[in-house]
């Protein structure tokens, strides 16, 4: 079939099953946008290209399908650098389409020219600069294959205008359906080596103080059910990292919750004192290990990851298994058969002792004082459907959301774990809601993050994507303020957001949202009920929260996890 490159791009996206594209038009991508009008794909017009990238990410997290972002060249391409880096660090399957100046002008510093493939080389899994429109179907097919196979990640396709523009003879092409990919350098290994699996199972059977260290890879491989089966069969407690919240229901008795810098005491100390860490799709990130040379000193390590470069990158594993988490866990379950694991009674009772003595906790608000952010999150949690999708920005509110929400469903938690991108929550929530329109989607945001990306509430209004935003307004860049308080003698430098502008109510209303301000604890429940009842437009609920509230527990940067700081009102046991 004869067509131009712009039509071919849309046809190729349809061929890959794409249902929604998040994007923004402009000069070099104009011809492709002409074809958007005729395609059977929903296009969501964002207000800033960065928003489109995070929407694609939120869509991918929630649906498990690759997210697609499409923007023009130059400043638009550089505006998606942040979401690409974000998706790269969090292994999110995404395909980015960027316009480029005509091929003959590349290298001449033409208008809106940037070296997009050069700039994004180190923050994409792979990228393409297309020179022949006949290559479009196959390259798009390869891009989706690479983005979704092995360790997922973002792939970018840069399209020079001359090959998409119907008015340019360079754009004429003959459509041919893509053929099976032929990538001799990309052959992900999915099944673990049986001998290694056997060795891992033996360690797991014999361990007295085992912990499953579940990472984002569990969710990427959609292996939540397998994880639960393995934990239950072997009676092994599980910690779920920031990227893995929901991989095992929080209400499950074996789930110890989140480890790491702001993890709960039991999850942190369980890893410290374990004699076996079974790392499944996790990567020994510095936010989890704390000071590396004192991390989990007595633990043998079984490390399962689809990316062999993670095996031994940070911590030397006793058994390294290269493979897909879902398949490796299934193989471990097969190998276990009806075998009995060692008795973990003493270990489990030690863990329950910690859970009893050091629960996640906060002091209730003083009478007449500001709202406690933790209480607000608990109230939203208790009033919203169990399968609510929660997106957060980056900072204190992110940690409280991870700590105090009860994630009983997998694939319901969206956040920027690796890159720590402020402003992630609103666009990610919009992307998730676009992919899962029947689910309740709450963005739990801070006032700093809100001011970075709130313009995407216009997108949400205009595109009828009714998300809900809980704006925890503590009038500070709270996490930075907390560090300045704890490590810089409380010398507060450039963290005051008290305004008096913006007026978040007026701002939200101007963007088409229902806006509610809550100051009094007695108003919290009603406001949340009202927000949950609104489904025809976005809602912003601004909660005026305690400015001085800190996130606890905390392992100070560079310190050992054993130096975990509990909240001032909990006294830490003296450890020998």
């Amino acid at each position: 079939m004869e067509m131009d490159g712009g039509q071919a791009l849309l046809k190729a996206l349809e061929y890959e099953g794409v249902e929604v594209v998040f994007g923004y038009p402009g000069g070099a991508i104009l011809p492709v946008y002409d074809s958007v009008l005729d395609a059977g794909i929903r296009h969501v017009l964002v207000r800033h290209e960065q928003g489109a990238g995070h929407m694609a990410s939120g869509y991918a997290h929630a649906t498990g399908k690759p997210g697609v972002v499409m923007v023009t060249s130059g400043p638009a391409a550089t505006n998606i650098v942040t979401p690409l880096a974000d998706a790269y660090l969090d292994s999110v399957p995404m395909v980015a389409i960027t316009g480029q100046v005509p091929y003959g002008l590349i290298g001449t510093d033409a208008f809106q020219e940037t070296d997009t493939t050069g700039i994004t080389m180190s923050i994409t899994k792979h990228n393409y600069l297309v020179s022949d429109p006949n290559d479009i179907p196959q390259i798009v097919h390869e891009a989706f294959h690479i983005a979704t196979h092995g360790r997922p990640g973002p792939v970018l396709i840069d399209l020079p205008k001359n090959i998409t523009d119907a008015m340019n003879p360079d754009s004429k092409m003959t459509w041919r359906d893509p053929v099976a990919v032929d990538l001799p350098g990309f052959q992900p290994v999915l099944d673990g080596d049986p001998a290694d699996i056997e060795a891992a199972v033996k360690l797991l059977k014999d361990a007295e103080r085992p912990v499953i260290y579940a990472g984002g890879g569990i969710l990427k491989s959609r292996a939540a059910a397998e994880l639960q089966a393995l934990a239950e069969k072997t009676n092994t407690p599980v910690v779920t990292t920031l990227m893995a919240r929901g991989a095992l229901p929080d209400s499950h008795e074996l789930n110890l919750g989140m480890p790491g810098m702001h993890g709960n005491y039991t999850a942190v100390m369980a890893m410290q004192e374990a004699d076996l860490l079974l790392a499944l799709g996790s990567r020994f990130d510095d936010r989890v290990t704390g000071r590396l040379d004192s991390f989990a000193p007595d633990a043998k390590v079984v490390h399962v990851d689809i990316d062999p470069a993670e095996l031994g990158k940070i911590r030397h594993p006793d058994v390294a298994i290269r493979g897909d988490a879902k398949r490796v866990i299934a193989a471990m379950l097969d190998t276990l058969g009806t075998a009995q694991t060692a008795d973990h009674g003493a270990w489990r009772s030690k863990l329950s002792g910690w859970q009893e003595n050091y629960p996640l906790a906060y002091e209730p608000a003083e009478p007449g004082g500001k709202l406690k952010p933790q209480m607000v999150i608990e109230s939203i949690r208790d009033a919203s459907p169990k399968d609510t999708i929660v997106a957060s920005g980056v900072g204190q509110h992110q940690m409280w959301a991870s700590q105090y929400w009860t994630f009983d469903h997998a694939y319901t938690w969206l956040n920027s774990g690796g890159l720590g991108t402020m402003g992630y929550s609103i666009p990610a929530a919009v992307g998730a809601k676009a992919g899962m329109p029947d689910r309740t989607v709450w963005a739990i945001d801070g006032d700093g993050c809100f001011q970075m990306t709130c313009q995407e509430l216009i997108t949400a209004s205009v595109e009828n994507i009714p998300i809900k935003v809980a704006l925890l307004n503590n009038t500070y860049l709270g996490m930075v303020r907390q560090w300045q308080e704890m490590f810089y003698e409380n010398r507060l430098s450039e963290v005051d957001l008290s305004g008096p502008v913006p007026d978040y109510i007026k701002l939200s209303e101007a963007m088409g949202c229902v806006a509610i301000r809550v100051e009094d604890p007695d108003e919290v429940e009603d406001a949340i009920a009202r927000a949950n009842a609104i489904n025809d437009r976005p809602v912003v609920v601004e909660f005026l929260t305690e400015p001085g509230e800190n996130v606890y527990p905390m392992v100070p940067g560079g310190k050992s996890n054993s130096d975990i700081v509990v909240p001032p009102f909990q006294e830490k046991e003296t450890r020998s």
């Binding site: 180190s122 792979h126 990538l183 350098g185 470069a309």
Partner: protein
């Protein structure tokens, strides 16, 4: 310092798809991961593939991690770490001399022939020589040429393939 006496190095033979930008991907990966390249040589082997020989500084990062990160590049097809004792490894040098004395030409010709090198040009007291050999041979060749007025020198970096078992 003699190049063959550099700190511990590893030699990697990397088979890559012959696609635009692949050298930039390899070089960029070394830069951003903090791996040091000692030398790098690349040329196509056929229409579809090129072979890159990379000599890396083993002290900058564990060689295992370097190989695994390289292997993640989609266009990298195969990586073989070559053992110095069993692989065939060659480097080439071009040297331009300007002899201090007129009567030294014969001495140089003799030296070159002893190394199995080649004389590419001679004009008056100027000579251009080449030698293709092991890096330590090149070191010794260059050292012996020092008294004869080296004006310019270019070495290629090693190329290597596995030996015959």
């Amino acid at each position: 310092m003699k190049r063959s006496q550099l700190a511990e190095t590893h030699t990697l033979a990397v088979l890559v798809e012959n696609k635009a930008g692949v050298l930039a991907r390899v070089a960029g990966l070394f830069a951003r991961r903090g791996f040091n390249i000692d030398s790098l040589a690349v040329a196509p082997t056929d229409e579809r593939f090129s072979r890159i020989t990379i000599v890396v500084d083993a002290e900058s990062a564990p060689i295992d991690q370097i190989k695994k990160q390289l292997d993640k590049l989609i266009n990298v097809v195969d990586i073989v770490e070559l053992q110095p004792e069993s692989s065939a490894l060659r480097e080439m040098v071009l040297v331009r001399l300007e002899l201090p004395e007129d009567d030294q030409v014969d001495d140089v010709l003799q030296l070159v022939s002893g190394f199995n090198g080649a004389v590419l040009r001679v004009r008056g007291t100027q000579m251009i020589l080449s030698l293709s050999s092991r890096p330590d041979e090149l070191d010794s060749f260059v050292e012996k040429l020092q008294p004869y007025g080296i004006r310019e020198l270019q070495r290629t970096g090693a190329i290597a393939i596995p030996g015959i078992e």
